[in-house]
């Protein structure tokens, strides 16, 4: 018996959200009196995989097959299922990412496991039950969900679990193969197009987010958002009306029908705070709202607020960050 954690990698490194997943998995292993093994997918160096020891991982499995560098749903599912069988995994932990959810849902059928996505806390195991807390109603509520059966799959929401860092601990890295065939690569990408990240931070992985709404008046004013984001090392985002009129690309749209973010800091500029937008951001640790309308509903959901003109306030904030640094 063991806990298996699925670690997503990119550009030679383990993604930050996967460090949280690894930390979650090793803590579950401890609760169950066993150890946590990681199976890594994506492009990564062996040295960085060994460092997963810092998150409490006992052993890392990695298949260096080049076609696994990009996400392939079929092949990833088979690889992780094979690792789960080999390690006799009772609990499998993944990131609540596009990859994690796509693979986890297939795995739940193949391994006859119960599954919970969007999980925000370590499980409670009182009275022989296995209960996890997960986000529901697009961030407007939480649900405690009991997972039945012998095997469980948990997809952990980003930035809900503190990553462990036991400096200097390393884990052995073993090569692992699942005898993948061409058929497993049926959904392999013909092409992978990454967003232009020139000096920017990816929104789904960001700790700090600066977001703009209709109050920014037009795409030509987005340099004010970008300047502050750059000074802070933050990602940029927007509200639905902004992506609907193509001022900004849809992958920046945060809200109930866009992406849900849970950064440490969310700065909303010229966004009134419709209930659908709040649903996408209300698990942010600290929310700052800048709006010239003191009646904007967003102020009720904020920790800090400035009632003022974004065109006046944003340059001042950017200047203050630069001075602080």
């Amino acid at each position: 018996m063991s806990v298996l954690v699925v670690v997503e990698c990119d550009g030679g490194e383990v993604k930050k959200s996967s460090l949280e997943v690894a930390s979650y998995g090793s803590q579950v292993a401890q609760m169950l009196g066993t150890t946590a093994t990681a199976i890594a997918v994506g492009e990564v160096t062996e040295a960085n995989l060994a460092l997963l020891g810092e998150q409490g991982i006992s052993k890392v499995l990695y298949d260096a097959e080049p076609r696994l560098k990009d996400f392939v749903n079929g092949a990833y599912t088979k690889l992780i299922a094979a690792a789960a069988q080999k390690e006799e995994a009772k609990v499998i932990v993944l990131a609540n990412s596009n990859i994690g959810a796509a693979v986890g849902s297939r795995l739940s059928i193949r391994l006859e496991a119960s599954i919970a996505t969007n999980v925000v806390e370590l499980p409670k195991t009182d009275g022989g039950k296995f209960v996890v807390k997960r986000g529901a109603f697009s961030g407007k509520a939480f649900a405690d969900v009991e997972l039945a059966g012998d095997r469980k799959i948990i997809a952990v929401k980003k930035n809900s679990i503190e990553a462990l860092h036991e400096a200097g601990k390393t884990a052995p890295v073993e090569s692992f193969s699942a005898q993948l065939t061409d058929a497993d690569f049926a959904d392999a990408p013909k092409e992978v197009i990454m967003q232009d990240q020139a000096g920017g931070v990816l929104l789904p992985e960001a700790d700090l987010v600066v977001s703009g709404g209709r109050g920014m008046k037009g795409p030509e004013n987005w340099n004010l958002i970008e300047d502050l984001a750059k000074a802070l090392g933050a990602a940029t985002a927007c509200s639905k009306p902004v992506s609907d009129v193509d001022w900004r690309p849809h992958h920046e749209h945060v809200g109930q029908t866009g992406i849900t973010v849970s950064p440490n800091l969310y700065i909303a500029c010229g966004i009134s705070g419709a209930i659908q937008h709040l649903a996408g951001v209300n698990s942010s640790k600290v929310i700052v709202v800048i709006n010239k309308d003191p009646e904007a509903p967003f102020f009720k959901a904020a920790d800090y607020g400035i009632v003022g003109d974004v065109f006046d306030v944003l340059p001042r904030l950017t200047e203050a960050v630069k001075q602080l640094n």
């Binding site: 990119d10 993604k15 996400f71 749903n73 599912t77 596009n98 990859i99 959810a101 986890g104 849902s105 297939r106 059928i109 119960s114 599954i115 919970a116 996505t117 969007n118 209960v131 986000g135 529901a136 109603f137 697009s138 509520a141 939480f142 649900a143 405690d144 969900v145 009991e146 997972l147 039945a148 392999a188 990408p189 013909k190 092409e191 992978v192 197009i193 990454m194 967003q195 700090l208 849809h250 749209h253 109930q256 029908t257 209930i275 659908q276 649903a279 640790k285 600290v286 700052v288 102020f299 920790d303 800090y304 607020g305 400035i306 006046d312 001042r316 904030l317 203050a320 001075q323 602080l324």
Partner: protein, 246 residues
């Protein structure tokens, strides 16, 4: 081509969420239910592709009790040809996926579409489960879907970018923007929807694998601390020294 579009019946996006006194169930009282917004992309795109092909059918499938029928009729009014309702409370993602797979197996559908997730349960699981149960590929979440003969070209969103994926039918895709502009019913659609076939079938005997013990609302905010606009720099100091987030 035969399209199967799975739709979920969810509270309108403006709904203030509350629960029954025992916190075990969502409080439906006074709540307007709509077609899950993500599913609208799947429905409209299926209709567009059928129209482009000049042949085929779009069947709408919902797992739900009789109170979901107004939204099934709405899907028919938007342009689906017929509908199937599996008469059951959608207990969890696994149970729903089993129902969809059972209907799909019987119907011989080429393309099975649904939204990325439902905005109430936010599972983001049903598409993968259905694909696995049927032994066919799943592309999730898809931002673009084009068909040429039996081959589909899709854009799959990954964190920080997208993949261009080609799969042959049959396959499952979960849909999101900017796949299409979701249609709304017109008067003619509403009239014809009344007489389109809506078949009710009984559920399979599968049990759910998960159960909600309690629902809870997020803790309320403590109240906003306002900083005067002319002293905006003070905010940055507070974020570093008080909130400790930068």
């Amino acid at each position: 081509m035969k399209f199967l579009v799975c739709i979920s019946n969810v509270p309108d996006t403006t709904t203030k969420i509350t629960f029954t006194p025992d916190n075990k169930e969502f409080n439906k009282a006074g709540v307007q239910f709509v077609i899950n917004p993500w599913d609208e992309y799947a429905l409209t795109r299926a209709i567009e592709l059928k129209e482009a092909q000049g042949a085929g059918t779009v069947t709408v499938l919902n797992v739900g009790e009789a109170d979901t029928e107004p939204n099934i009729r709405k899907a028919l009014a938007i342009g689906a040809d017929d509908a199937i309702r599996v008469n059951a409370h959608p207990k969890d993602a696994f149970f729903v996926a089993k129902q969809i797979a059972a209907v799909a197996k019987d119907g011989g559908y080429d393309v099975i579409l649904m939204g990325k997730e439902s905005i109430d349960y936010n599972g983001f699981q049903v598409h993968g489960m259905v694909g696995e149960l049927l032994g066919i590929p799943t592309v999730a979440p898809a931002m673009k879907l084009d068909m040429s003969g039996n081959t589909a070209t899709l854009e799959r969103e990954i964190e920080g970018g997208k993949e261009i994926v080609e799969v042959n039918a049959p396959f499952v895709a979960s849909c999101q923007q900017p796949m299409c502009e979701p249609r709304i019913p017109n008067m003619r659609g509403i009239m014809t929807a009344r007489t389109k076939p809506l078949k009710v079938v009984e559920a399979t005997a599968d049990a759910a694998r998960t159960e909600v013990e309690t629902f809870a609302l997020p803790p309320a905010k403590q109240g906003v601390k306002l900083i005067p606009a002319e002293n905006a720099g003070e905010l940055i100091r507070l974020l570093r020294n008080e909130a400790k987030v930068i």
